[in-house]
Symmetry: D2
Subunit: 139 residues, 4 copies
């Protein structure tokens, strides 16, 4: 029997995160989701990307695909809980999912595909095979 | 025979749009996509949301769903072309798509579902039926 | 003998807050400073601006002047403390100051002039006299 | 007789740049100011910071001090002109000024002190003497 690790990241919605309609301007949700993604790795004991750039050549986890479903609006003063999991490990990518809630309310659900990225000769980023050490830390 | 209206929005990538890996931090792509969405309506002759709030009760086009596939990284100094279309009109929502390129390079593709939003009594946002006047302008 | 109220706001620096040089991209400091400004009023018991717009005509506290001195860089993983005070009340404006630290390190100091803003007929914002109720809450 | 070089950067204000009061949320002005700062150097022929990091050790122009006076509000749909100059060269810093206008309207004025920054051993950033080649390009 196994369970999937889940880490919760908390975000406060501020006045400046909202648009003239008075609700969160949606790119800000992706700001928090990206912070929650790295928070997941940090909580699992994965070092800063500056350090993994030296040791593994990994400069971060660039996004390849996101599918996000927005259910309820949020506004300033709200506190959001973002529950993060890695639900699938592939050869050179992984699936990371997010469930954003405000108390009992579901705000959004997001499913991403990310890679571990390395600098490509001549510019740009390439995917490297999932580093076993990082995967072990996140299990 | 008919054709779908396509409007192109141009964005410059700035230094501050990039992260410590030197590439665009992905929430900024959604910043430009949202700007391109409204630019589409503006180019079609749809008034500012402040005005439609008075005339139609429509305060904007909140996002319900986004599916985005990131193909190539971009960095500061790049100029991005964002080609926008509305590919489907439903009763209370519509599908808006984006193709982001840098010259010949495909950077990302995005498909969204949005609604025309009105203030709900007691807070929050609700979808209204597609306003015929807006649809006519965008055809 | 009197003392000035000081409220501390905490901000985490995230990966996406940093630029290709690996340090906080400075507009993000102003994002946190603005959040700390409203947090000050919220902690003093001042209602949301939506509510004061109804009761007092006050839609927020627009910035009139900022003088900010940056002392040390910060990077992702850092936790910042932002100590906020109102150091002067004028007829139609007030001075709000911020001291941002990371443990013992001073990161920046900021002194602002803000107003209580109301919608102006025909568009734009105008300053209103300091509302006595708000000033009393903040003393 | 001499004249100071002035470069103009143009920014469009988008819906998402505005806050619930319907006006530009002020940290976004600093986003545009920072873009205008680098645009000045780019127009003068200074290479990307990635390249100067290799040739001169210069990773960018971190901000040391800003004094900004906000005169009029702006909102989405506005086009802003940002006129940039370098008004003073010191040993290890320089003064860069910005005048932001919308047609005839003055929106804000900003005066900054910046340095040419290099990575410091053990982390952080230090100021280097003004590189003569860069100064010559900007004269």
């Amino acid at each position: 029997m196994s369970s999937i690790k889940e880490i919760v990241y908390t975000a406060r919605v501020e006045f400046g995160d909202c648009d003239p309609a008075g609700i969160v301007w949606f790119p800000n949700f992706f700001r928090w989701i990206d912070a929650a993604s790295r928070h997941f790795f940090a909580e699992c004991g994965v070092p800063r990307w500056e350090e993994t750039a030296q040791t593994l050549g990994v400069i971060g986890t660039p996004l390849v695909d996101t599918h996000t479903r927005f259910v309820k609006a949020a506004s300033y003063g709200d506190t959001l809980q973002i529950a993060v999991r890695i639900t699938e490990w592939r050869d050179k990518s992984f699936v990371q999912t997010y469930r954003v809630t405000r108390g009992e309310d579901l705000i959004l659900e997001c499913e991403e595909v990310r890679i571990f990225g390395a600098k490509r000769e001549g510019g740009g980023i390439r995917a490297v095979p999932i580093p076993p050490d990082i995967r072990a830390l996140c299990a």
